[in-house]
Symmetry: C3
Subunit: 335 residues, 3 copies
C-alpha cells in the first residue's frame, strides 16, 4: 500500500494516483455496497453547520461497511468548543479542542468535520482553524465534510464525470459563478477548480469581475496541476467564449473575497450578474457538454429547470456518488 | 403476491385484504421481532414536525429488520425545501423537492414523511402537498408518518382491537371529539373514521356541532366502506346515545375545519364542550367497551386517569403496535 | 448471579462488590469490545440537557453489544412531558410520564435519562423527580446519565484510578471545588464524594466556605462508607493542607446550595476564590498525585494546561472509560 496522507483535509496533498485509487474502489462499492469490512469501527460526524446529503451519505455509508456513525452538533446538542490556544477559557466555550479531539479519538476510528467560514474576514477563514485543530489533536484520521474546500464533493464530481467521459485529459471544464441571493462559501468553487486541474482538464474560471477570482492558494495550485498535465488554466469574464466548446459546465455561486465582512457593498455587483444563470442557450454553445452542481441548487436562479432535468445533467449522479466515494475514503483511511 | 399500491400515503387506496395481510404479518413479527430480511436496506425518516413514538418505532423497527434509518429534520438540521413548481426559487428554500426526492431515492429504499397541515387554510392543507410531492418525485416507496391522515396509527389501532375483539364486523365504534386547549390536526380523526369503516364497524362520529364534522373526502369514504360492509355510519352530537352500547370508544381532539385561519372564533365553541372528556360515567354506558387514544394524551383534559389506567384501555398496546405494523409495512413495500 | 438493584439511579444502593463486578467486566470489555450479546435489544437515551461524551459513548457502546440506541430530546424533537401526578394536564406538557415510560418500555429494553436540576430551589431539585418518575413507571431498567448525581461518571473515574493505583484503600482522595463563571450542578461532586468513600479512600472535601458543603444525603452517605471502610472523611477550606500528600485530586466546580434561586448573591463569593484553580504548585504538594476532571473542563480557569497535559492527569482515560463501564452496566441490567 503506497503512502497516503493520514487525514483527508483537502486534495491538495493527495496525488492523482491516490485519488484515482479511491475512485476505483468507489466504483466497485457502487456494484457491491455491503462489505462489512470495517465492522465494529466508529466514526464521529461533527457538524458545525447543517447538512442533508453529507449526513445521510456518511451515516448510510458507515452502516454499509459495518460501522457506526455518531452525529454531533456542537453548540446545539453538544457543548461549544474553544479552538484557540490562549490558555484561559473564560468565554462561552466550555471545552477545548484538545479534550474533544483526544476523547473522540478514544471512542471512534475517524472524525469527520463540517465547519463553514464565518464570512467576516477571509484572512481568518482561510486558516481553516477548526478542522486544522481537529487534525492536530486527534489521533485518528480527520475527514473534511466541507470547510473552505469540499474534497468529498470533488471525488463525487470526478466519479460522475469519469462515468460519462472517455477521458478527462485536455477536455474543457468551465467553472462558472452564478447568482444567488446570499454570498455563499467559496469551498465548492475552490474544490471544483483544483480537482479539474488535477485530473487533466483545461480549466476555465468564469466569473463576473476580478473580485470573484478565488484565493491564490487554490488558483496557484490549479495552475501548477494544469502545468503538470500539459493543460491550461484560463480566467474569463466573457460568458460566450467561456461556454464555447465546453465538455463540462460546473456551476456554483460564491461571495467575492475582497468583500468579506462588508457584504452590503458586494450586493449590487452580484445583483448585476443574474444573467450568469446556466440556461439552454448557453449550454447550446458547448460541445454537448455535461452539466453539474453540488446541491442544494435554486432552480430558475442558478440554473434553469430545463438544464437540470436534461439527460446531460449529472448532478443527481454526483450526489449519489457522495455515498460511494466516502465509503472508499473510509476504507482507505481507517485500518 | 397481489398488487398493492407503491406508496403508503393513506389507506383509502388499499383494500381491506391488503391491510389485513400487513396486520397478520405484524402479529407474526410481534412474536419473532428480528428478521434481518431487509439487511443492508435504508429508510429516510423526514420529520417536518416533532415525534416521539414515530421516530423511536421506525428507527427500532428498521434495526430489527437489518435496515438503517436516517432521521432528517428539514429546516433544523437540514435545508428548507421548495414544494411548488413555479420555476424561480428566490425565497427561503435552498432546494427543490425534485432534487431532495431524487437524491434520497439514490441513497435509501424508502422515504417516510411527517408533515402536519399549516392550519391557515384547509383548502390548501387538504391537498397534502408535501407528501404528494415526495410521492411524485421519489423513485422509492413513500410512507406517511402523519400528514392530514395517519395511516400507520390506523394499522396500530386495528391490530390492538383485533387482539381484543372476536370480530370487528358490525361492532359499534365511537369516534369522539374531546376538548384540548389548542385546535389540533384532524389527521387521526380522519384515520380512525375510515379504518373503522373499512374493517366493518358500525361507526358513530360524536362531535360538538356540525362544524366539527370531518372533511367530505373522509366522510364519504367512510360512508362507502360502511355500505360495502353492510354497516352504518352515524353522525351525532348527543353524548349519551353515542356511548350507549359502544364496543370501542376512540377519542381525539381536533380543530373545526370552517375555522381554519381564524381560531380565536372557534375557541368559545371548544371551551364550551370540555364535558366531552371521556370518563368512567360515559364508559359505563358502553358494552364493556374498549378505549383507546393515539397519544400524546392530556390526562384529565381529554380522558380521565381512571379510564386510561383501566384494563379496558388499549392505548399502550396501540402505541406498541406502531413498531410491529410499521415493520410489516416496510417488508411489504421494500423489495 | 447475586441480587442487584433493578435500576441504576445512583450508586448509593449498590454494594461495592456489585460495582466492582461492573468495573471488572468493563476492564474485560476494554480488551474485547464487541460482544454482540445484547443483539436485537434497544435502549432509549432521553436527554433533557445537552451531551457530547454521554451520547457518543452510549450510542457506540450499545452498537458494540449489538443493540440499537435511540436518542430522544423531549422539548426539542419530542413533546414536553408532565411529571406531576395532579390529574389535569392543562399546561404546556402534552404527555404524562406514565404514558412515556410505559410506551418506551414496550419498545426498548432500558431507558437512560439525563435531567439536570433547575437551580431555582434545591429542596425541589434534590427530589430528582424526573428520573424517579421514569423509574416508577418504566417496566425496564432506568439508568442515570446525570441528574443530581452522575453514577456512570463515578464508575469511569474508579476504573481509571484502579488502573493506576495498587489499591484505593486508605489512599488520600481530595475533591476540590474550583472556580467557574457559572454556578454548576453538584452532581459530579456528589458522585466523586460517595464513590471515593465507598471504595475505601480517605476523602477530603476542599471548598471555599461552609456554604459549598454538599447535600447532607451525600455527606452522610460518604461518612457512613468511610466508617465502614475504616477510613476518614475530612472537610477543609485550607488548600495547602488539603493537597498535602494527596494520592488523587479530583476537581469540579459547583454552585453553593444555600444560594439556589439567588445566584447573584453567590457570585462575589465564587469570584473571590479563583485561586482554587488546580495548578502545578498545588500538585507539587501531593504524593505524586493523580489528577482528574469529568469534562467539559475550562483550561486556565479550573485547572492549568500544565496539569491537564501532564502524565499524571487521567481525565482522558476517565472519559474513555465511560464507554467501557456503560457497556458493562447495560450487560448487568439488561437480560
Amino acid at each position: 500500500m503506497p503512502h497516503v496522507p493520514r487525514h483527508f483535509l483537502s486534495t491538495l496533498d493527495w496525488s492523482r494516483a491516490d485519488l484515482q485509487r479511491i475512485l476505483d474502489d468507489a466504483r466497485a462499492l457502487k456494484k457491491r455496497p455491503h462489505t462489512g469490512d470495517l465492522s465494529g469501527k466508529g466514526i464521529a460526524l461533527v457538524f458545525f453547520n447543517p447538512s442533508l446529503r453529507t449526513r445521510t451519505s456518511f451515516e448510510l455509508g458507515a452502516h454499509h461497511l459495518g460501522m457506526k456513525a455518531i452525529v454531533l452538533e456542537p453548540g446545539k446538542g453538544a457543548w461549544p468548543i474553544e479552538f484557540d490556544d490562549d490558555g484561559v477559557m473564560d468565554g462561552e466555550p466550555e471545552e477545548h479542542i484538545r479534550e474533544v479531539a483526544r476523547v473522540l479519538s478514544r471512542y471512534v476510528d475517524a472524525i469527520a468535520v463540517r465547519a463553514f467560514p464565518k464570512f467576516q474576514d477571509w484572512q481568518v477563514d482561510r486558516q481553516d482553524k477548526v478542522i486544522e485543530a481537529f487534525a492536530r489533536f486527534a489521533t485518528v484520521p480527520v475527514i473534511n465534510m466541507e470547510t473552505i474546500t469540499h474534497p468529498c464533493q470533488e471525488l463525487a464530481l470526478m466519479l460522475a464525470l469519469q462515468d460519462r467521459l472517455v477521458t478527462t485529459d485536455r477536455k474543457k471544464f468551465v467553472l462558472t459563478w452564478t447568482y444567488h441571493p446570499k454570498p455563499l462559501n467559496t469551498a465548492v468553487a475552490n474544490s471544483g477548480l483544483v480537482i479539474a486541474a488535477k485530473f487533466g482538464f483545461d480549466v476555465t474560471l468564469l466569473c463576473p469581475t476580478k473580485d470573484y477570482v478565488l484565493d491564490e492558494r487554490y488558483m496557484k495550485a490549479a495552475e501548477r496541476f494544469c502545468q503538470d498535465n500539459g493543460a491550461k488554466l484560463t480566467m474569463s469574464h466573457d460568458i460566450e467564449s467561456a461556454y464555447d466548446g465546453a465538455d463540462v459546465v460546473y456551476a456554483k455561486s460564491w461571495g467575492a473575497l475582497p468583500f468579506f465582512g462588508r457584504w452590503a457593498d458586494e450586493k449590487p455587483i452580484r445583483d448585476a450578474h443574474k444573467h450568469f444563470i446556466v440556461d439552454e442557450a448557453k449550454m447550446n454553445r458547448t460541445n454537448n457538454g455535461l452539466f453539474s452542481h453540488c446541491l442544494p441548487v435554486r432552480r430558475g436562479v442558478k440554473v434553469t429547470s430545463g438544464v437540470l432535468d436534461s439527460p446531460r445533467s449529472v448532478h443527481i449522479d454526483e450526489a449519489e456518488n457522495r455515498l460511494h466515494v466516502q465509503k472508499a475514503l473510509m476504507r482507505q483511511l481507517i485500518s
